[in-house]
């Protein structure tokens, strides 16, 4: 109800209350005046005389009968029909008639005429200036008629002007002016009071509604945050809606996975189905379904409330006056519907609270779903955790076993290396003696011209050198694997080293009709590395190139590069030999490995050369790589830092 409407209602109430109370006041006054008139008549003029005989004075009869007639009819109306306009107009006329009677009874005393003016003022208690009209008419009519028929009784003259009654009535009208002004002002004040009261009531109502909205929000918030079971939680929400919004029914529906049906989640109020939340609703059907379809709130009040196809007799029986339904949206996605049927219209604060509750319930539904998902994930995770723990235990067991095996393997490797190192050392001494004596025997055989024994001696010497080479390789490899290989770092003149290597290997490189090319960058001067190992790297790679190249070209390029951010020297040995497949290049740096098993037979070698090259490169902080293709030769690139550091990370002092 608007403030203006309420003010009008209050104003009408105040006015009606004044009418009623004043009617009852006059009812008492009428009876009192009647009784007073009788008492006065009996006291002042009880008898009329004719000589010695007397009879009841006419004034007594007038006081009793006429006074009763004047007083009792309006008094009865005031009691039976208080507040009705006809009642107070009758009272106004009666009051003036009573005045006329009393004036007569008092013998026309001028003092009694004040009764007329007092009565007019008394009638102003009604705050209705219209009551003065019949009162004034009665006074004017009294003077007019008496002036017309008994002028002496009212004007003191046997003959008077026919307009003299106007003069008397004018005095009454004169008082009427003030009383009318007083009535109008009083009514205006009454209206102002009604407006102030209505405004105050409106303010109080808004405050109460805001408090109810806040308490609703708090109750729902408490239910949503405190609840652990979703069914109980949302049931509490529905009951809070009914309790705080004077609801007849409140329901919450959730959209199922097919998004075609709304499943009832909770319901409270008069129309709640016994023992449940009611049937599900198809999206788009009915008011609830329409809210889900449109994803927009719906509000209705009074006759606009949807009564449904069945007329929803319960809404009439329950006195439902308003409906509000909200879609439950989360990030713009519909997850359900919330609706309330209430006994009274929703105030703006109540609707604000309802919208907030809809948001809260949407979040609550999402939270419960998330909690269900989390619970399911937690169960899965716990199962996975158990499985992982079992696997970890198994893995730990395996690691322990592996660690034991590794220690055993390392011990075996060290034992093997120690064995190989010691055995190789023990083997090299007699082997050198065999090679040396076989060479001496060749010289003696040549001197004695015993040429038939020279090839055998050469085979002995060759086998011995091959064996020595093999043993040296094994020895180096063993040292490396045993961690006993150390670097002997020194300043190296790269060009001199390269020239020396070529002087040594020149015949071998050219013996299969190969062309040999050496390109050494002029920017290269010195490097700091292990000279013997660097030279061994170049010798091994060039020997390999010579071994697998016939009628081709062998090239050595030496150039400065940057390797892992540090200055380095790149040694590139390229040949046009047989080349290798990708599988072969992948295994080429493993010990005792050659391109294939036929290589050893066809080209000779121990299978340790490239393994030693790789280990030496790693030992000096460098790297070796190969690019090769079958029939297209091979290209080995060795990268060594210009400044090689020892194991302590510092350059060793120059030798």
């Amino acid at each position: 109800m608007s403030s203006e409407r309420r003010a009008a209602e209050l104003f009408a109430h105040y006015r009606q209350d004044i009418y009623t109370r004043t009617d009852r006041l006059f009812a008492g006054l009428m009876v009192l005046q009647w009784i007073a008139g009788i008492v006065f008549a009996v006291w002042v003029s009880p008898l009329a005389w004719s000589g010695a005989t007397s009879r009841t004075h006419l004034h007594v009869w007038a006081a009793v009968i006429l006074g009763g007639l004047i007083a009792l009819f309006p008094a009865t109306l005031a009691l039976v029909r208080p507040g009705v306009p006809a009642t107070r107009y009758t009272i106004a006329a009666a009051q003036m008639l009573m005045g006329a009677l009393l004036i007569h009874l008092t013998g026309g005393r001028i003092e009694t005429h004040f009764h007329v003016f007092g009565s007019l003022a008394f009638l102003a208690f009604y705050r209705d200036w219209r009551v003065l009209v019949p009162a004034t008419i009665v006074v004017a009519a009294d003077h007019f008629l008496r002036g017309l028929f008994w002028p002496q009784s009212v004007y003191g003259a046997l003959v008077a002007s026919q307009w003299r009654w106007v003069e008397h009535a004018a005095w009454v009208f004169f008082e009427d002016i003030f009383l009318v002004v007083s009535c109008l002002r009083s009514v205006a004040e009454m209206r102002q009071r009604a407006e102030r009261t209505a405004a105050l009531e409106q303010e109080v109502r808004i405050r109460q509604q805001a408090e109810r909205g806040a308490s609703l929000t708090a109750a729902v918030g408490l239910a949503l945050t405190r609840g652990t079971e979703s069914q109980v939680m949302f049931q509490e929400c529905a009951e809070a809606l009914v309790a705080h919004l004077d609801g007849a029914f409140a329901g919450i529906w959730t959209l199922d996975e097919s998004e075609a049906w709304l499943e009832p989640l909770a319901a409270a109020g008069a129309n709640r189905p016994a023992g449940g939340t009611g049937p599900r609703t198809r999206v788009g059907e009915g008011t609830i379904g329409a809210i889900a379809r449109d994803r927009a709130p719906r509000l209705a009040c009074g006759a606009d409330v949807d009564r449904g196809e069945d007329g929803r007799d319960w809404t009439r029986c329950e006195g439902v006056a308003a409906f509000a339904g909200y879609p439950l949206l989360l990030h713009g996605k519909l997850i359900g519907v919330l609706a309330v049927f209430a006994h009274q219209e929703f105030s703006p604060p109540a609707l604000d609270a309802l919208a907030a509750v809809a948001d809260g319930v949407a979040l609550g539904i999402d939270r419960t779903r998330a909690e269900r998902e989390v619970a399911r994930y937690t169960r899965d995770l716990e199962q996975a955790h158990d499985l992982q723990r079992q696997h970890a235990e198994q893995l730990s067991t395996l690691v322990d076993q592996l660690r034991v095996t590794q220690k055993q393997a390392e011990a075996a490797t060290r034992a093997k290396s120690d064995f190989l190192a010691s055995m190789s050392h023990e083997l090299r001494t007699p082997l050198n003696a065999i090679i040396l004596y076989s060479e001496l025997l060749q010289e003696e055989a040549a001197d004695r011209a015993q040429t038939e024994s020279i090839p055998d001696l050469q085979r002995i010497q060759g086998s011995g050198k091959h064996l020595l080479e093999l043993i040296n390789g094994i020895l180096d490899l063993s040292k490396i694997e045993a961690g006993k290989m150390t670097l002997s770092l020194e300043q190296i003149d790269v060009k001199s080293m390269v020239a020396e290597v070529f002087d040594t290997l020149g015949p071998i490189l050219r013996q299969k009709n190969n062309t040999v090319t050496v390109r050494c960058s002029p920017d290269l001067d010195l490097m700091y590395a292990d000279l013997m190992k660097t030279r061994q790297i170049l010798v091994n790679l060039l020997s390999n190139a010579a071994k697998f190249t016939r009628d081709g070209a062998i090239t050595l390029e030496v150039s400065p590069v940057t390797f892992d951010g540090t200055p380095a020297v790149a040694f590139t040995i390229a040949d046009t030999g047989v080349g290798m497949t990708a599988d072969q290049t992948a295994r080429i740096f493993d010990p005792f490995t050659q391109a294939d098993v036929t290589t050893t037979r066809k080209y000779g070698g121990t299978g340790l050369g490239l393994a030693i090259v790789s280990r030496f490169c790693q030992l000096m902080g460098g790297r070796v790589s190969v690019q090769s293709a079958p029939g297209q030769g091979s290209r080995f690139t060795v990268l060594l830092p210009i400044l090689v550091l020892d194991a302590a990370g510092e350059p060793t002092a120059a030798a």
Binding site: H57, L58, V80, T90, G107, G108, F149, W150, S153, A157
Partner: protein
């Protein structure tokens, strides 16, 4: 909600007209009652058979050389209170003041003191007024008075100047033609427009003029 004054059994049309009808009857009754009252108040009593000269058989002593005013009053007539009030007003305004007698009727059937009512005391309290008991209304008869409040004014030579009442209506004080006429006559400011006026009061004698005392 105001209750309906009409009985529940009445037809709707009758109920609609009942209230205006009741009001009309009530107004008519009140008007009739007031009409009767006003008519009674303004109905004069029996006028006096006034003598043109001071009654020679009167026991009252007329003072020679100045006017004499005589008022006859029924001591129980409440209407005559207004007559005495007007007499007081009259005497206050009159110059010269007349010798004044107020005679109170005293029927023989009543004990002495019956006549000494409030009216007696009021009259006795008026300055220059002589209050006399008129036993059995003999003086009233001599002057020809029949109604309480009857007033006579005689000049210094005993000639009748005025006969009538000095109130405008029964028991009504206030300006009236009788009082005005007497004052005018006494003050010598002109002749009375109506030397005879109506008298309003109780009858001094029983109906039909029969003396009961």
């Amino acid at each position: 909600m105001p209750q309906d004054i009409a009985p529940a059994g009445l037809p709707a049309q009758a109920r609609r007209w009942l209230m205006p009808l009741l009001v009309a009857v009530w107004i008519g009754g009140c008007a009739a009652g007031l009409w009767i009252l006003w008519d009674w108040d303004n109905r004069p009593g029996v006028s006096a058979q006034a003598r043109a000269q001071w009654p020679a058989d009167s026991a009252l002593g007329r003072e020679r050389g100045r006017p004499t005013l005589v008022m006859l009053v029924h001591p129980q007539c409440t209407c005559s209170r207004a007559s005495l009030s007007e007499l007081a007003e009259l005497l206050a305004r009159a110059t010269p003041r007349p010798k004044t007698f107020v005679l109170f009727l005293k029927p023989a059937a009543f004990a002495d003191g019956w006549e000494q009512t409030a009216l007696w005391r009021t009259a006795a309290g008026l300055p220059g007024v002589t209050v006399i008991r008129d036993v059995e209304g003999r003086e009233a008869a001599r002057f020809g008075a029949a109604t309480s409040g009857q007033t006579f004014l005689y000049d210094a030579r005993g000639g009748l100047l005025f006969s009538g009442g000095i109130t405008g209506a029964r028991a009504h004080a206030g300006d009236n033609a009788g009082r005005q006429a007497v004052v005018t006559l006494l003050n010598g400011t002109g002749g009375p427009a109506a030397p005879r006026t109506s008298v309003f009061g109780c009858s001094l004698f029983d109906r039909g003029g029969r003396r009961t005392f």
